[in-house]
Symmetry: C2
Subunit: 288 residues, 2 copies
């Protein structure tokens, strides 16, 4: 069978986007086809605007390959890459517009672990006993100021050495600085822990090397992570930041918001060195 | 130390690009800083234009992670991804503008292996003896039509089952359908091999799943790969395509160019079933 070569639409630089996107089949999911078409459009625009060199393309392939190979069950290098690109915070912003009357969200980060132990009100999550003790407490409200009973708080933070338990499985106790709490009838929660400290994101991999080449430090200001959820409310992924941290101004992942900076007060009673009150306001889930 | 929170430039959707690119340090390499800034700009524009959902971001992280983890010494899934995105051909186009009087280039693909054996003129690279025998021959010229003596041709193709040797290390002989040849005094080359056949790119990984969801087939039209090089000439990475292939119109990686479709004639002598003449024209390297 002879092919009529004159009927072929050859790939050209100027027609590159159409050459690729026109191949998508009619059976493709409509949303996938849209996202793919936009990805091709912006990726090709990037390559054309920077006049991408062959060696730079090769370096990019190598970088992405090493980034993927750095990932395992305890390390998510692509989330780090998204974080330092500002893409994680941008996705957060896009998905949480117009919630001005509720607690603001921020990045999940790569260190959440499902299945943390459910603990009673007031329990201590600092299993290694290191660091400065702190009481974390507050209310979970709805947007009208009503207490939400039975709201679930999944909390996690680093230890005083700046590492999450999953980064040091041979050193830290399992579930160190993690726990799940539920609010009482009056919407309150309370737990003990160690005051979080600032830390560098894992920077011994491709993303760390990139940050160094960009002249950027790898540090995050100290924070406690929260996933706050309750039936019929939109799940909130956020942090509370420690208010005296030098990295608040230049969080490597751009996660800081003014409303998320929490007070740390010297505790009036003798139970703990610090006390950090922080309230949450949840939004009714209207998607169901 | 108390931090003046009013001095913090918080991350916002509208200011997202500046928030990230302003962090790049003065010590960063100028070209890296430019490429990074353009990457952030186009990546953020993509996320905003598609209104990227949190779940889609998660699916993207998962996809990139699996793509990286699919890579090993014999499999380069990120090159496949770049290929099906048209990015490989776009990079080729950007890096090879204004070479109209020379042989056109196309994608390298992921199956080149360095260190193939150097073989004498006329040697047979088909070590498994499968497929339809074919004589590949022609000239290597400069742009003035002068023969180039001692030009080096690094050639490789699939076998009749549609696999490169590195995809079937336990089945095909090592270096099957690969070899390095040098042109003689008159600029000619000649080798024996099997007529290439069309084949699907490896589609048992994340990129294959993506193609299926996009309603795209994974096939490449049959082709012989060449890297043609000579001292003082620009190295040429290209293919010659088999002229009767049904996939010429829809090569999954967009690699086909009209000038690269080679004739396959029934061989006039009894040495082989086919004969495919194909000449190369190299460009003087002006970068040194």
């Amino acid at each position: 069978m002879q092919i009529d070569l004159s009927t072929i639409d050859y790939f050209t630089e100027s027609g590159s986007v159409e050459a690729v996107t026109s191949r998508t089949g009619n059976e493709a999911d409509e949303r996938l086809a849209t996202v793919w078409a936009m990805l091709v459009k912006h990726l090709h625009a990037f390559a054309k605007e920077v006049d991408l060199k062959q060696g730079e393309w090769e370096a990019g392939i190598d970088f992405l390959t090493r980034t993927g190979q750095m990932c395992d069950e305890n390390r998510q290098e692509f989330i780090l890459l998204s974080d330092v690109l500002g893409l994680s915070m941008l996705t957060d912003a896009i998905n949480n517009r117009e919630l001005a009357s509720a607690t603001e969200s921020t990045v999940m980060g790569p260190f959440h672990v499902k299945g943390a132990p459910e603990l009673p009100m007031g329990a201590n999550i600092s299993l290694d006993g290191k660091g400065e003790s702190c009481i974390f407490e507050g209310y979970v409200f709805d947007q009208e100021g009503n207490a939400i009973e039975g709201a679930r708080l999944d909390v996690w933070c680093d230890n005083v050495d700046g590492y999450y338990d999953v980064q040091q499985p041979d050193i830290q106790p399992k579930w160190n600085n993690r726990g799940i709490f539920k609010t009482g009838q009056d919407g309150t929660y309370r737990f003990m822990g160690a005051k979080p400290v600032s830390y560098p994101i894992p920077h011994d991999g491709p993303v760390g090397q990139l940050l160094e080449k960009l002249g950027r430090h790898p540090n995050r200001p100290a924070h406690m992570h929260y996933i706050v959820s309750a039936p019929e409310y939109r799940t909130l992924v956020t942090h509370s930041f420690v208010d005296d941290d030098q990295w608040l101004k230049s969080d490597v992942v751009f996660g800081v918001k003014a409303s998320l900076v929490a007070n740390y007060e010297h505790s009036p009673d003798g139970d703990a060195k610090w006390r950090s009150p922080f309230d949450f306001i949840l939004v009714k889930d209207t998607t169901n």
